[in-house]
């Protein structure tokens, strides 16, 4: 009888706290995932092979440029000579800022160039041209 009792106790694994652990995991993942903040404009991105990932979403500001030359930051439309103020503020609050430029593939270079100038004036120099992945040809 004594032996039987001992074996009964040892064969049990405490599973009552299992849901708590898993709920914790769940909540952790829910909190850490950053959802898309802004819907941006309708664009089709160009494709490139040699691309790099942006390190952190928290240090990224997006600029959308649509086919017709509309420029949007945080879902607000801006004229091309007004971006510097927004970007300057962003840059001031986050020195690690990288600007991700999501421009349509049919945009004219004059728009891109004016954004370059604005970003230079705002001292937001780290720029990333957002592209899709193209399968390497080599």
């Amino acid at each position: 009888m004594k032996f039987k009792r001992k074996s009964k106790i040892e064969s049990k694994i405490a599973t009552s706290s299992m849901p708590d652990i898993i709920f914790m995991l769940l909540i952790f993942f829910m909190v850490t995932t950053v959802l898309r903040e802004y819907s941006g404009l309708q664009i089709s991105l160009p494709k490139a092979e040699r691309i790099e990932k942006l390190k952190s979403k928290r240090h990224t500001a997006h600029i959308w440029v649509s086919k017709d030359g509309l420029i949007s930051v945080e879902d607000k439309l801006f004229k091309s000579d007004a971006i510097r103020h927004v970007m300057y503020e962003k840059r001031a609050s986050d020195p690690q800022l990288t600007v991700s430029l999501k421009a349509d593939l049919a945009v004219r270079m004059e728009v891109i160039s004016s954004i370059h100038n604005e970003l230079r004036k705002a001292d937001a120099l780290r720029l990333n041209y957002s592209t899709k992945v193209k399968a390497p040809t080599q």
Binding site: R50, K53, R108, S113, L127, Y129
Partner: protein, 132 residues
């Protein structure tokens, strides 16, 4: 005997299934969240008022026309050949700076294709000139 057994069953909530439910939820969220990391071609713009004089020998001009044609050092070149040509030029002169100049009506995807080629050629010194 039958009555007694029924009495002992009352009062316990089955919590063994709880972990499974929570796991299921966890897996559901893991699968449905699409982590769309931003990818693209990174460059660093020159700071305002930071123009430096560069020896003309060390500059390779790359022009993009409004119709999408590319001139490399004065010669027309197909976009997919820029890679090899630039690699060669850099081997000859490792201080080479590639100056990309686009016409203001040039299309953005040509520009990206050109930058992609330059990245492929491992050109680190890229200068983006203003449009003309």
């Amino acid at each position: 005997m039958a009555l007694r057994e029924r009495k002992t069953r009352v009062g316990a909530i089955p919590e063994s299934g709880m972990a499974d439910i929570a796991f299921l939820l966890l897996i559901f969220f893991l699968v449905t969240t699409t982590i769309d990391t931003d990818k693209g071609i990174g460059i660093i713009l020159p700071a305002e008022g930071q123009e430096i004089e560069i020896n003309k020998k060390n500059i390779l001009n790359l022009l993009i026309s409004s119709s999408g044609n590319v001139l490399l050092g004065g010669e027309a070149i197909a976009i997919n050949q820029i890679d090899d040509r630039v690699k060669e030029e850099i081997r000859k002169n490792d201080k080479l700076i590639i100056s990309v100049k686009a016409h203001e009506k040039a299309q953005y995807d040509v520009y990206i294709a050109v930058l992609d080629q330059l990245k492929k050629a491992k050109a680190t010194r890229i200068s983006i000139a203003e449009t003309e």
